[in-house]
Point group: C2
Chain length 204, copies 2
């Protein structure tokens, strides 16, 4: 799917009605999500409820998972702002290792809060979609790793591995039932374990 790029004034800019529809669809999707839960949010229903055609829904988001990815991106934007320019230890100003630990804790919280959306955003056929979710997470981890003095190591792959270690448990291995049952404890333990892992990896 080739998304219309949002370069201003350039040719192929997103048309005004398209923007309107996109925002309206996202709002409607959020409503339905809160009302019905992720797996009862169907494309037909979304189209009907928003008063638009099904074709429009698919052109805007490409795929069902795409909707959840877009929804997640919204949250991610706010989150990234905290990370990039918020107060330490999450934002700049703290030591890189502290930031890395704080980042993991915050991301666990974020994913836990949006776990329904995050799960639904996974698409079996395609790997993690461009412009969404992980790339940002991975890039941030990669950046912080670069600021920590580590011996010889392939920081790019290490960042991928750490991202997987951070997201994987929540996205892949813990069942929804596990989480619903004891979410706060799970969140605490995952954050703590992330800290342990990072400290192990990054010590001299």
């Amino acid at each position: 799917m080739d998304w219309p790029v949002m370069t201003w004034g350039a040719p192929h800019a997103e048309r005004a009605d398209a923007v309107r529809n996109r925002l309206h669809l996202l709002a409607t999707a959020r409503e339905m999500l809160a009302e019905l839960g992720a797996d009862r949010l169907t494309m037909d229903a979304l189209a009907e409820r928003s008063g638009l055609g099904k074709g429009t829904v698919f052109r805007r988001f490409g795929t069902r998972a795409g909707i959840f990815q877009a929804l997640l991106d919204d949250g991610e934007r706010a989150f990234q702002e905290q990370v990039l320019s918020g107060p330490p230890p999450l934002g700049p100003g703290a030591a890189p290792l502290e930031r890395l630990i704080a980042y993991g804790r915050a991301r666990v919280g974020f994913l836990m809060e949006h776990r329904e959306i995050a799960r639904a955003a996974l698409d079996g056929r395609q790997p993690i979609p461009a412009g969404s979710q992980t790339p940002l997470s991975q890039m941030h981890i990669r950046m912080l790793l670069g600021q920590i003095h580590l011996g010889p190591a392939n920081l790019d792959i290490l960042a991928v591995q750490l991202t997987a270690a951070l997201d994987g448990p929540l996205l892949l291995y813990l069942s929804a039932a596990d989480l619903r049952h004891a979410a706060p404890q799970a969140e605490q333990r995952l954050a703590q374990s992330w800290q342990d892992l990072v400290q192990r990896v990054c010590r001299p």
Copy 2:
């Protein structure tokens, strides 16, 4: 889905015709997989080609992903045998850390070899299915971690994290195109990075 347990002689054992059909379906699935690729392997086609009803296919495997999980399990069984009783450094006899490194290398190879099936075995709705794939991997890593003297650490979660760091890149983050393009290199780099990661985590 509640699979018939294979406790011998106990009530509810898997019936003979069911076994026949299951094996036949798996064989047919393997054929179609080799011939058409994973995403053209459809349930209807599988049913028709195997000469069985659609209902039978679903009763046997529960879901589309279930077929690929079953297929993967077959390979996994052979793999596990190597791990549990093959020659060192993979099998017993080597130091735990060496075994852990060797295990990662072997698993990367295994997943790379079966990446199409492994991807297709992921089910968006459900977390990693019981009796399949990761639990074995996770358990093995957990066991080896237990044999390495680590400081205070939650070995259970650490095992989950390492499993994610091992499987995640291949299952989630690397696109099929990336892999097709430079599979051997990717395999080498992932194995090397696994070794780096584990050595970092497990040093005193």
